[in-house]
Symmetry: C2
Subunit: 525 residues, 2 copies
Amino acid sequence: MRRVASVPFLSVLSATICCFLSENTPNTSSPNIIIMLMDDMGWGDLGVFGQPSKETPNLDAMAAQGILFPDFYTANPLCSPSRAALLTGRLPIRNGFYTTNGHARNAYTPQEIVGGISKDEILLPQLLKEKGYVNKIVGKWHLGHRPQYLPLENGFDEWFGAPNCHFGPYNNTVRPNIPVYNNSEMLGRYFEEFKIDKKTGESNLTQMYLEAGLDFISRQAEAKRPFFLYWAADATHSPVYASKPFLGKSQRGRYGDAVMELDYSVGRILTKLQRLGIDNNTFVFFTSDNGAALMSGPNEGGSNGPFLCGKETTFEGGMREPAIAWWPGRIKGGTVSFQPANVMDLFTTSLALAGIGPPGDRVLDGLDLTPVLFNHSHTLQSRPIFFYRGNELMAVRLGQYKAHYWTWSNSWEEFKQGVNFCPGQEVAGVTTHEQKEHTQQPIIFHLGRDPGEKYPLSVLSKEYQDASNWISIVVQKHKETLVPGMPQLNMCDMAVMNWAPAGCEKLGKCLKVPKSEPWKCDWPH
Amino acid sequence: MRRVASVPFLSVLSATICCFLSENTPNTSSPNIIIMLMDDMGWGDLGVFGQPSKETPNLDAMAAQGILFPDFYTANPLCSPSRAALLTGRLPIRNGFYTTNGHARNAYTPQEIVGGISKDEILLPQLLKEKGYVNKIVGKWHLGHRPQYLPLENGFDEWFGAPNCHFGPYNNTVRPNIPVYNNSEMLGRYFEEFKIDKKTGESNLTQMYLEAGLDFISRQAEAKRPFFLYWAADATHSPVYASKPFLGKSQRGRYGDAVMELDYSVGRILTKLQRLGIDNNTFVFFTSDNGAALMSGPNEGGSNGPFLCGKETTFEGGMREPAIAWWPGRIKGGTVSFQPANVMDLFTTSLALAGIGPPGDRVLDGLDLTPVLFNHSHTLQSRPIFFYRGNELMAVRLGQYKAHYWTWSNSWEEFKQGVNFCPGQEVAGVTTHEQKEHTQQPIIFHLGRDPGEKYPLSVLSKEYQDASNWISIVVQKHKETLVPGMPQLNMCDMAVMNWAPAGCEKLGKCLKVPKSEPWKCDWPH
């Protein structure tokens, strides 16, 4: 049954058929929420953000119908911590998704990680569930793969996807292949039941994720239940993949093929909402988990547009993300908001949309963006954006100024082995290969006239002094009140890998678990 | 008198008032032509091309109503040669706008240049005039400032602007201030009658250029004469300037203020065409003369988006240009063409639009783009783009491949003095500070997956061999048939400067001409 399509249509009918409509009017207190989170997709990968090949017509149209956020950030330059931040509304330094094994080291959840999302954290779907939402995650989880950390233990009602990155193939002796779950049981493994041809780049996974998303939307629309869909497709993470109809179609090679298939999928999802007549009652947000992985380029890495470096770094290229908000009828189309915002705001904003008060027992780092979305408010313009790498506050943005307290791309040792987070880019004294401390005199850039972080302000200028004073007050306040969470990403153990996920017995795919020998994980970056 | 506004309106009226209409229907054999050529504006300076600040709503709307050309090039990474190429349809190596004083050196027309556009060249306005067009240039000429080289000697009927860059202020003893002309006589000089406040950045010049353009359009529309307007505003060339209402308005500083005023002016010109009802009979093309001048950044330099280096270089950042074609009713709006094209094509295309055959006595480098503009033809996709620096063919693009036969950013000597054409960018073996020859084994990039020219193809790969073979055939053919023109930019002389331009007597602004002492100009880049 098709719902009422639009507000004008509604107003024409309202006088005569009130009772039919009362069942079908947008449930503005519980709108559906869809967060589409891409994997390693860069700010510069969308036509609307300046990708020369302009191969994202659906995302460009989504922007034309919604709000573009050019100043949107993730919470961390790496996947697991940024995803944990999105779902908890809190910086990784608070929610525990960081390591203290080294200074300013990026950590994530490979198969050997012991930890995962702490039970002390409250996740967005847990709160939404209390208001009657049905919650589904499609795609990559990455908040821990041991049973207690999985999505259905953390507020989600449904899951189709994998707990870790689609690395492999492995031979299932030293290291098992990553399982793909349907809800709480595995369906098979990557490179086995779920094919990824690393040579040709062919895989049907994005199509499967698309169908899983569409099916979920249809079912909830039919049942008239408010839903939260967290659509976390990962085709743009190395090894990048696309299905046959998209392979070889992009001017950009295999990475572009993956982008085109994701763009197509976004278009299909938005069209589905329109066809079901629930587009005027659904908030959709598109973004990515961290900057493009330039070390995988050019065949398997994306673009960070004009921004410096990429994934793993706290320069703009590592944390500035493509971002589009869409809600026909509620959000004015074709607008651009320069609000500095981030993935943690999606937590707080989603709660506000659902009419749920934020938990009162903890510090949240996300802001409620509804004044920006609906009223183009400027009151939040001078909120800070914090750039952490592991346990260290590397940089802070305030207004157009960004102060770097520490600079680091990667170590000389890694760099000399060919690992380069800033290929073709080298800013003297900035993209350093030692961890350089500037806490006494931060390096400050004006991101408006220098989005590429190439020209540090002169420390002798009044502009530098003013910006420095302004930011240091904010940093001092942040540090004074910060209580770091228990670090969850310190310990590793081969015994915790995906040897025998739930459901493996039915499939005859349980593997022998080796003896537990925990060690402190080594995080080189 | 207002003309008929649009085709639908026309069709409604056609049966009844045929005779009125016959006078007012679009003259499709002689459409008006407007070429808007910016100065040092970069590909990445427009919202539609990915500028994070999105401060060009009028240009973005122009793109939405027209064709965006992301693969559009100038003919040279410096102003004078690229402007000469646009107006002659020929590479600078053919039309003489280059130097042989050194190998691969950029040359232009400073005040001390003796040469200018050769009388052997045929300029676009000269050909259009034969078909009844009225031609005006507004803004910067730069094809030689001695009397015989000026616009009214070369096919233009009107001129408001200056022959050289707005450098200065000078004290009128060692070097005179640059004159501003109205037609064939000076009206005053920059920094004297025509103010540019280098400290505040304030100048009303863009407003003057705008009004001159609007007035010309109105007069020709009134007189029902086909016209060619070459609108060459220069506010984004250092020292950048803007008028008071725009100063301080941009997130990007003074450079952004200048862009905003130019964007506003473009909007005003397009609106004027619509109000006059001649928009459906006017071809408008917007582009720039070379890449953004990164050495003037960040306060006075623009953005080349994802492309390598900028002005003065033959990397993409030096020669890839923002480009938009607009013609409501004839050009399908909201389209993107990946046709590799360049400013010389504007010459040939303009002739085709005006129904004029190209001169048969010379080689033209421009192609007729009308099949691309009107029929989205792909037949021209594999045309080559040649990247010259002075007398040397540095690189060639064919399809998505670009082969560098020579690499050079600038000399170590200049670089050590702080002149940097690739700030924050350094690609080993590519952005070299010596002129490096690779003619035996060119460095080849795939611009689709690597628009930033960061990852040379492996010379051992089949892809490299195929691309190399393909391009070398095209290069061989080009070189075999190339007859370089007489170089016009070799000699300098203080006596030829703007001491006593025509009209100076009336104003009492003639200066004493020093003794002629010609020398071979020194071109460091």
